[in-house]
Symmetry: C2
Subunit: 311 residues, 2 copies
């Protein structure tokens, strides 16, 4: 495929076009990702998540500049939970990244969640693969750390950074939302605000409650992204976590787990399609459903009958 | 099944035990739900969702008391996004409902999301069916309106109420999170707080932006749940929405859509199990995955091969 060849040669327009194909889930997107797959595996995946207003975009911006200073390349995927009817108006945050986007070696892509829920996690992962095959050293994925989709994306990353701000109850909320369980590094951003010290203390307390099966003790860092403070320490922590993953073999395990997940998703998608196109027409299904609505059968009996037909 | 017979006779202990079986996804749970299914269809499902701290529990408490005053019965399911390691400590909110739980005709169940993500939406729906078969007139499901699971649960309900509080930016956040698209009724709770009027104005503005394919114009109500204000108006709005659904035929369409969804879930579950147990062992899959990790194949090629084996 010419598009893929061009991408692999380092053509940014081809990269952009391939990403668009993936986002639109066009007919060639699966083929393209399949071709790109063999050229992936070099990039390191960093997830940045946390509640809205924690300053994730600014932190990513500063971190990205550090990476570029080291003459390394990166791709950034910003997943925005935009409502379908509010359109792109709320993406204004990204404007702050404009300085960054003029630098060489970086590629930024915003993706909206509404309207594509469900498929979003897969799309994001495929775009990450594009960046990887393109030759990026790092792929940074920024999400709002709530729903399953976001957790799923974070799960894709080698290092997941949870960003919080000193705000009463925020550490409790993060804990409730399960953020602490996915964190490899915790950042208390806006560290000049009142309550920052207390929050770090709370988080240290919480970290002792956590039972994790690995030996990694996540660092709790203080940053002021807006003033570019604490960002070097963050990069150091990321690289230290990377070392840990490689040393313990968890890096390979994670990657294999992701491949397995992807295979399962693809098989399920194929079966679903087969089911809808070959085994059971929408009309037949509707007839079944009507009978269940009238309490003449149950969803369980219907499922059993359909399953027998497949076999 | 004796348990089901007892439940249908109105035995509360049997109801409680059946719900536990469903929560633990025990071997008999599918059979129990299947038997109960034919006795469902009478209850009206109300979803209450919104950000943490909006006062959902208090509002549900007041609403429940109104329903009981009308000599009607209800079941309440409170879905708490509790972290698995924080345990039940954060469920303290529910204590406020203790007065309610002493009244006759109400049954309250809290369910934690962590650890059961993915299965949670199904579990919640099955518990709702139990309440329905038990003879409840209403089933109220309370969730934090974020992730896909919560949206999925809200989708199950006949009337979905989105609860917000006057707080700067809260209406924007709700919009971004897609809450406005699922709302049949919007409640601005803590209506005595500063900014309540402005928020109602904002929400009215947003509502005009919304394009929905039905003719229902969602009411925007102000309540002070803690002082029991505005709750009658809320109940009136719910009943008016119920009337609307019945009149337009959307009630039946919604219910059928839910049955269809359930059938599809069940079929997919069966296929998945069949795949894992009969077609492809974990060892075989791991061998495939290792080859993909070494870039000798791709997830797409593997999925194709597995799919061919199934056929």
């Amino acid at each position: 495929m010419k598009l893929v060849d061009d991408l692999l040669k380092g053509n940014r327009v081809a990269l952009s076009k391939t990403i668009s194909k993936i986002e639109n889930d066009g007919p060639e997107s699966e083929e393209a990702v399949g071709l790109l797959f063999k050229h992936t595996g070099r990039a390191y995946y960093i997830g940045v998540t946390g509640p809205p207003g924690a300053g994730k975009s600014t932190l990513v911006d500063r971190l990205a500049n550090r990476i570029l200073d080291r003459k390394e390349k990166l791709g950034i995927i910003a997943v925005d939970p935009t409502s379908s009817f509010s359109g792109g108006a709320l993406l204004g945050d990204r404007v702050r990244m404009s300085d960054l986007s003029t630098r060489e070696g970086v590629f930024i892509r915003s993706m909206a969640t509404r309207g594509s829920l469900g498929g979003l996690a897969t799309t994001t992962k495929d775009v990450a693969l594009c960046f990887d095959a393109f030759g990026m050293d790092y792929v940074v994925i920024e999400t709002i750390g709530v729903g399953q989709v976001e957790l799923d994306i974070a799960d894709t990353c080698d290092t997941t950074i949870v960003v919080l701000v000193p705000e009463s109850g925020d550490s409790i909320q993060a804990m409730k939302a399960g953020l602490m369980e996915i964190a490899d590094i915790i950042v208390v951003n806006k560290g000049d605000r009142e309550g920052a010290e207390q929050m770090v203390a709370e988080l240290k307390f919480i970290s002792r409650l956590r039972e994790r099966d690995d030996e990694w003790e996540y660092p709790i860092l203080q940053t002021e992204a807006i003033n570019d403070k604490g960002v070097d320490e963050l990069l150091t922590a990321i690289l230290s976590h990377k070392k840990h993953l490689k040393k313990t073999g968890k890096f390979e395990l994670n990657r294999k787990r992701q491949i397995k997940l992807r295979v399962k998703e693809l098989v399920e998608k194929k079966i679903k399609l087969h089911l809808e196109e070959q085994v059971l027409s929408e009309e037949d299904l509707n007839r079944y459903v009507h009978r269940a609505y009238k309490k003449k059968t149950t969803p369980f009996q219907i499922a059993e009958e359909i399953f027998k037909k497949i076999k």
